[in-house]
Symmetry: C2
């Protein structure tokens, strides 16, 4: 195990119906909030009315920021920052999925900047020195943004999708009401599950320390549960028990728990997917699903033992050699992705081998910002993409 | 899954040698601290000198409270409260095991009481409305006190050992330096491991909701890892990797992670053990080990399925019937306890069947305070004790 700091101050309220407590919970922190939402689903399901009513009943004035799209855009963040400053709002509330939560965080960080542009925080030319308090009411189990300090924003002018993180961006409070996720259609439910599983698989394979038995078992426990819960929620969208397991599991998948102690690690699949969805606007979870089996095949060349460990522990696989067990493990993961309705190759997303160069160049820019460009050169990314092009 | 609130604000610094950073980390919070220690091991190992030197180098004035014993006593807590008030100390630092950390928390809570006695907080006649900031540098992997809001103190005048908890008692910061635990002898290493495993097993079997697949798998992951790490640390006391796994695993075992969402639950084995060690002054972990197999046998009458689930997942047991699998599971746990050198029955602690009545009466008082006296009557506790008297 490697040295680490763990500090996750986010308070979680979990339970069916708890979104109605948003007002009472947020009022002690702020009486003028920006309420960030997506393109309409929260209004259709009634979640928006409930949260807004709860806020107003508690004496919180609400200014809306509507229309956040998947692969959320910098222009919307700037719009939110302007409104927040103009109306002297003192907190940001996100009601939606990862895109909405990330937009809320970017607004919260940008609103307190003395000078410069919020995008500088993503290109790492400016430090995130503070933020307005952020509150989230997620409507999708996927990103884990509700209990971490990360955000991912797309700059539509430059075509770059970049991640940034700060201790100031942990939500003060997140209300996890699993019933709100029951209206998520099967495809996005599956993409969310794939996203959460990917958050666990990447550190599992990419940690610099090979001796992390505790972190391995915690990740395996979460992955196994998420595989089962995603499948159940896709089959029975209104199954609150499955939705609850999926929601809390997705939160724990990226709240720091399984990453503490594994040493240096990097989210390479996420980086490549960010390039993919910046250029092709595919749903984030679908992009990850299309990359995962190919990336694991590429990874297995070096880490067949670890891939095989996953297969033995999750699917009781035993194939004689480690390499054969690794192959079976990747096949089992691909089978799961197919069962829940995810793509498992780039060709299923309409991306051809001729696009790999562009994707690799875009990813290289991110690798430079994160300081891993020596490891993830355009050639390496292209080699990964080649494994992902067609389903094995 | 049941509704829950999760909020664990403790910051963890984990790594070999980090105890030397105590001063730099604590100084921003306080320049006059009470440093609570045990009966001498921290002085013998040099940990005391390092932490004290670090504090003083950072400009923190140190007042000692030495001599905390296992099953820590109220009189020592009162001594600490007096010193803290007399010298206007502004924080409490614990360097030691669970007894030292619990004493530090009780001093921190008692020092800010406007009126009344700190023992009232344990009998639940007074609320814990605040506390001085608490910092811990654990020297034993066991109690989890370094990342939770609980404390257990023995009132030697009344012979009662009671637990109390509050959000105010979460340490601000805990420095987990696994090298400090390398000098713990094999017996106490094993007792610590048994304590941590018991913190996981009790909620695993006692949660009110039978449908908690995520919490089950997380608990199983931690239990399995702790069993292995304890055995390794007992066999090779200087194995820093095993000590690291054991230390972080024991912290996660009682930091709220596996309990969130399981519904109402109660630490019955801990309650009975507190009665045991209040009356017989046995080491807490040894008392738990002596009770665990018998309690699981008693529990298996109602919950054979859950006991069998544990055995199938941890030891790949399959015995035909659930009842037979449960029997094998308990035998496997007993084997582990014996391998690491723990007692597995009351008779091994020198306690006879004639003592059960007294233990049951003492436990009944605690059950009353926790409001579970309808469930844990003296008769029920005596029935559990009967199963624990001799090793099967």
């Amino acid at each position: 195990m490697q040295p680490f700091t763990f500090h996750n101050p986010t308070r979680i309220l979990f339970g069916p119906g708890l979104c109605d407590q948003a007002g009472a919970e947020i009022r002690p922190f702020s009486d003028r909030v920006l309420l960030v939402t997506g393109t309409g689903s929260a209004k259709r399901t009634g979640a928006y009315d409930r949260v807004r009513r709860s806020l107003e009943a508690a004496g919180v004035r609400v200014r809306d920021l509507e229309g956040v799209v998947s692969n959320p855009r910098l222009s919307k963040v700037r719009e939110g920052i302007e409104a927040t400053r103009a109306e002297a709002l003192t907190a940001v509330v996100a009601l939606g999925g990862g895109s909405v939560m990330d937009t809320a965080k970017a607004v919260a960080a940008g609103a307190v900047l003395d000078e410069g542009d919020v995008w500088d925080c993503f290109t790492r030319t400016r430090e995130i020195a503070g933020a307005l308090p952020v509150f989230t009411v997620p409507t999708l189990a996927a990103s884990g943004s509700e209990m971490n300090g990360f955000m991912v924003i797309t700059n539509e002018e430059t075509g770059h999708k970049l991640a940034a993180g700060s201790e100031h961006l942990y939500p003060r409070l997140s209300i996890l009401d699993p019933v709100l996720t029951c209206s998520v259609p099967p495809d996005y439910t599956a993409y969310g599950g794939a996203d959460a599983v990917c958050h666990l698989l990447e550190p599992y394979f990419n940690g610099s320390d090979p001796d992390t038995p505790l972190q391995d078992r915690l990740a395996e426990a979460l992955i196994q549960t998420l595989l089962e819960a995603t499948e159940a929620a896709v089959a029975r969208p209104g199954d609150v028990a499955a939705r609850s397991t999926l929601m809390w599991g997705a939160t724990l998948a990226l709240n720091g728990l399984t990453r503490a102690g594994i040493g240096e690690h990097f989210f390479a699949v996420h980086m490549i997917e960010h390039a993919l969805s910046a250029l092709f606007d595919v749903p984030h979870g679908a992009g990850l699903a299309a990359l995962l089996p190919g990336w694991m095949s590429w990874r297995a060349a070096e880490s067949a033992d670890k891939v095989a460990q996953l297969g033995r522990r999750l699917w009781n696989l035993s194939g004689g050699t480690r390499r054969e067990e690794a192959r079976q493990t990747i096949a089992a993961l691909r089978d799961w992705l197919r069962r829940v309705g995810c793509p498992t190759s780039l060709s299923e997303l309409g991306i051809s081998a001729g696009d790999h160069g562009r994707i690799a160049e875009n990813a290289a820019l991110q690798a430079g910002i994160w300081g891993v460009d020596a490891l993830y050169t355009p050639e390496v990314v292209a080699a990964v993409l080649a494994q992902c092009q067609e389903a094995a």
